[in-house]
């Protein structure tokens, strides 16, 4: 019974935890600009994170090794260090975007300038990482993030023409008003937001720290196979809502407030309140996870003690990195750089860096020295290989597309 409850909790928090500021921004913006023309990318991204997160969880359970630990071991000191520099920079950028997202959702609820919230948000994120029962807080915000289901309800209650929607999702076209470069640029952004590397850093480090073993493989699979697709549905709901309400009006969202307008239009104040709660919870959870991921990546590369469950004094360098990362992230938002723009860059750069994380993971997941008989199945290898090709192509195309589309400006 207790095990069942644990599994349910894991799945539920995986749903809420899937969505972060990157998904909020990317889904809303693409829905408003391309209708459902990019919906297929969300499906592709969710399948990709399922395949690789399952691998990360399995490697962590069987070998007790976290992803960045393996990155160093498999890629060597030199390539591993470049990988570390890129991953840390991107995770830090994402952390800043998440802190900005929390502050923006508070601004939307209170109408107080978001910059005033930034130091408070930074402090709270640090406190939770430092000593306030992390698991509890992470689970709490994960569950609160489920409030975002209200967006799906709003879509349902809007009584859209499901047949036409399915048709436009399965027959994607680039709207006449958009360039192909912008279309593919946003496709990469959506892929980056679904498959952000910090998710596997956090997921695998958590599994190692909670001492998952082979007996947890089922829990791992359930979390990933049920939680992530349902989380992906939330991202899709945001896109559909934007496509239904914002696209016909020609609204190109550049603020979090516009992402909430479709829900309040259909469901009124209660819907709006839940949507805002969902925004706040999702970005808070992701801020915690990215902050720790900053610490995980560096500490695991250098082989230092790390972990959110051990006394800070036993992992002082890890805690110091987390503290400095949060300060840097909050500082970046305080420069008044637009958090939404920051998010866009963070997810696009994430997409460019995806092969760096997923290639070593795929290699290790095939190595019996780490996994014994739990190495990848043919099916997951086939899917993972196909994704690796997609990720490399996306990675190579990112910068040219960014230049040609003027960062999606078209």
């Amino acid at each position: 019974m207790r095990k069942l409850l644990e599994i349910a909790l894991g799945v539920l928090t995986a749903i809420g935890g899937f969505v972060d500021i990157g998904d909020l921004v990317a889904s809303t913006e693409t829905g408003a600009r391309f209708g459902l023309g990019l919906a297929w990318v969300v499906v592709v991204g969710v399948l990709g994170i399922i395949v690789y997160a399952e691998m990360a969880g399995r490697v962590a359970s069987v070998s007790g090794r976290a992803v960045f630990d393996l990155v160093r071991e498999r890629l060597g000191a030199g390539v591993g260090l470049l990988n570390l520099a890129a991953s840390f920079f991107i995770t830090l950028l994402t952390l800043a975007a998440e802190i900005g997202g929390v502050a923006l959702s508070l601004q939307l609820a209170t109408s107080v300038n978001y910059l005033l919230f930034v130091p408070i948000v930074g402090l709270l994120v640090w406190l939770v990482c430092w000593r306030v029962r992390f698991e509890l807080m992470d689970n709490a915000v994960g569950l609160l993030g489920l409030a975002l289901i209200v967006v799906a309800v709003a879509v349902w209650r809007a009584h859209p023409d499901w047949g036409a929607m399915l048709h436009s999702a399965t027959h994607p076209v680039v709207p006449g008003t958009e360039s192909h470069a912008a279309y593919w640029y946003f496709a990469i952004a959506l892929l980056g937001s679904a498959m952000t590397p910090y998710e596997v850093f956090f997921f695998s480090s958590g599994a190692v720290e909670q001492r998952w073993t082979r007996s947890d493989l089922l829990v791992n699979r359930l979390n990933v196979y049920i939680g992530f697709p349902l989380g992906g549905l939330l991202a899709l709901a945001l896109m559909v809502a934007a496509a239904l309400v914002l696209e016909p009006r020609g609204i190109d969202p550049s603020h979090l407030s516009q992402a909430a307008l479709p829900t309040s239009l259909v469901l009124g104040k209660l819907g709006l309140a839940l949507a805002l709660l969902g925004f706040f919870a999702c970005t808070s959870g992701a801020a915690l996870e990215t902050a720790l991921s900053c610490g995980y990546s560096i500490a695991q590369y250098f082989g230092w003690p790390w972990g959110k469950l051990i006394k800070p004094a036993r992992a002082p360098r890890f805690q110091l990195i987390v503290l400095v990362s949060i300060a840097l992230g909050a500082g970046l938002v305080l420069t008044t750089l637009d958090p939404i723009k920051l998010t866009e860059y963070a997810i696009v750069l994430s997409a460019a860096a995806l092969p760096l994380t997923y290639l070593p993971l795929l290699i290790v997941a095939n190595d019996p020295a780490y996994l014994g008989d739990k190495v990848n199945s043919r099916l997951s290898n086939a899917i993972a290989s196909a994704y690796l090709v997609v990720l490399v192509v996306a990675s190579v195309a990112t910068v040219p597309l960014m230049v040609v589309s003027k960062a999606g400006g078209g």
């Binding site: 498999r74 890629l75 060597g76 795929l362 290699i363 095939n366 190595d367 019996p368 020295a369 190495v375 990848n376 290898n381 086939a382 993972a384 290989s385 690796l388 090709v389």
Partner: protein, 130 residues
């Protein structure tokens, strides 16, 4: 000397032809050393090849598992790999290793099989535990 001075060094034969780069150093475990300082690990030779990437990832060590994509991408280290016994080294200077004889005389490396999960140091020797 450090291991890193050997890794990546260029190997040149007596005719000045490049054999490849050192991508690993094979160690052999010996019995207890005099003075009871524990078991010794001694360099036995160098693994030299043109394609070091796959070897670094552990490819070509016994079971060549994994999707064909990885194999194609990383290649198998056994492909063009050579084994350079330490005795054939004439000089090591500035990341260049000169050897006696020619590249053609160098044997293929002997595969060591899968990397064992665990080696323990007990009573002066390394014991492999799988």
């Amino acid at each position: 000397m450090r291991l890193s001075e050997l890794l990546g060094a260029e190997v040149v034969d007596e005719h000045g032809h490049t054999v490849g780069k050192v991508h690993d150093v094979r160690l052999v475990q010996e019995g207890p050393r005099p003075g009871g300082a524990g078991p010794g690990l001694r360099v036995e030779g160098l693994l030299v090849g043109r394609r070091a990437l796959g070897a670094r990832f552990g490819f070509g060590r016994g079971a060549d598992r994994g999707p064909w994509l990885l194999k194609a991408l990383l290649g198998s280290a056994g492909h063009d790999g050579r084994y350079l016994p330490w005795g054939r080294i004439r000089s090591i200077q500035a990341r260049q290793i000169r050897i006696t004889g020619t590249a053609g005389d160098l044997p293929r490396p002997e595969p060591l099989g899968e990397v064992p999960l665990h080696r323990e140091q007990t009573e002066g020797s390394w014991r492999v535990r799988r």
